[in-house]
Amino acid sequence: MTELSEQAFGAPAAVPGPPGGRAARRGPGRGRARRALARVPYVVVALYVLVALAGPLLIDYDPVHTPLEDRLLSPGEETASGATAWLGTDGLGRDVLAQIVYGARTSVLIGVCTVGVSCLVGVALGAVAGYARGWVDAVLARVFDVLLAFPAVLLAIVIAGAFQRSVPLVVLALSATAWISFARVTRSVALSVRERAWVDSARVMGVRAPAVLLRHVLPFAVGPVVAMATLEFALVILAEAGLSFLGIGLPPSTVSWGQTIAGGKEYLETAWWISTLPGIALSLLIVNVGILGDQLTARYRSGGLGRRPNRDGSTP
């Protein structure tokens, strides 16, 4: 699904992507439009975060409260209590707008937690592998490769399906494979940075290995890791929606886009808004986070070793 949507949306909008420099040769007006376009994903993602943080304070929603007299209202209709259902209601009379807003909070929360956990684990293991080299690296690198061969969503389904549904479990199931890309990125940075003379001189000085890693190696992995975190954030949100859609993700007491979409699938012909609107919310977020990740990846492709990108954001 990401591949599809990235093909569809990414082509016109992935502005400072790899084939950079093309627009640089065109007029100045093009460059300005390009830079403005490049800021779009930042704005969209910031909007989602704002909605996720502030929305639940403004809109009241209880997933267990089901006013059946309001069921299947189309967008803009008035509910029995006199309020307007701007985006309609679902099969149990619950407001779709509120579900989208609360779902945004869930998605951002799950995304941040999963990326945080897998970032910590991945960076730690990758740094140790790249810095220690020798057999430690050989073993860890093989572990990364083997785990990379597992289909991530399948593994998440197995873990999530085997236990009681809960938020920590979903985070765990999604982290189970997400950490590997962090480990691989960090390992490659650590492998190259540890050859630098400043690392050697710290070792000759007698600085302890953890301090050498923290002060002299890991700061150079920050750029690539942040880029990776952005991409993983998009994938994690999509995977969580997938799990919830299948009914093995979050418990029903938590609002999730995946659940809302699943709940609307039997009304697709009569009440299109129940599945479609959360679906649009989901794909908009994922596409924009994906483009953001691509921009950051392009910027830090050189390994982030103090080399600055060109003015247009691409690297030579």
């Binding site: 630098r196 003379a197 050697d200 001189s201 000759v204 007698g206 600085v207 302890r208 002060r215 150079f220």
Partner: protein, 280 residues
Amino acid sequence: MTTAVREERPGGTGGALLDVRGLRVTFGGRGRRRRGGFVAVDGVDLTVGPEETLGLVGESGSGKTTVARCVAGLIRPDAGGVHFEGRPLGPAGRRGAAQRAVQMVFQDPRSSLNPRLTVASVIGEAWRTHPAAAPEGDREVALRGLLADVGLGPEVADRRAAELSGGQCQRVSIARALAVRPRLLVCDEAVSALDVSVQAQILGLLAGLRRSHRLAMLFITHDLGVVRQIADRVAVMRRGAVVEEGPTDEVLDAPRHEYTRALLDAALDLNGPGPEGEAA
């Protein structure tokens, strides 16, 4: 193989500050014995006395940098060992009290300094790692004094490597090494990456520091002119072994080994006709 030219060597370790014995390093290869690997250093014996400077010369690939990295503890030798004042030196980080006694200055001045750190924090790290060598009282004053020792002004303290010239970077590297009050300074091609005028300044600085800080030095270089300026004794390496060793003047003016003669001829060719050539 060339025992005849090694009359300088004392029999035991008596009086030597650094004693390298039977050093052997192999890169690559398989298993504990490293079969099939490339032998970079093959049975090197060296001594450096207190406050003495030993120049280690040889063409690139002769193994001199590998010897330096063994002495600094960055490479673990396959056989033989490095002794400091009679005690064996382990790998870097596990040298106990001897950790700060041996410090190293590297070839590339820029990558010797972490580009994210200021000069003050580079020196600060050295003092934090070895509180015994840290100055008592005001560290800011001590830092200014240390920078003045290597010919840098106090304004350098807040700068990072990118804001310094190559020569300044190398002075900071030297200051970092001196900050922990070492006994032996290993200089691995420490002036090779600098242009000739800066090279002369850094050599002069090292010669002065050697006296004022009572330093012994192991000075690795391919440049025979540099060796003549700074070394008391010279050891010539070729293909992982020392082929000739002796007082600098003797070795450079009356070389006994044909390889030393070839090195000297090559240096003359480069320096003779044109302006100061950079021996590549």
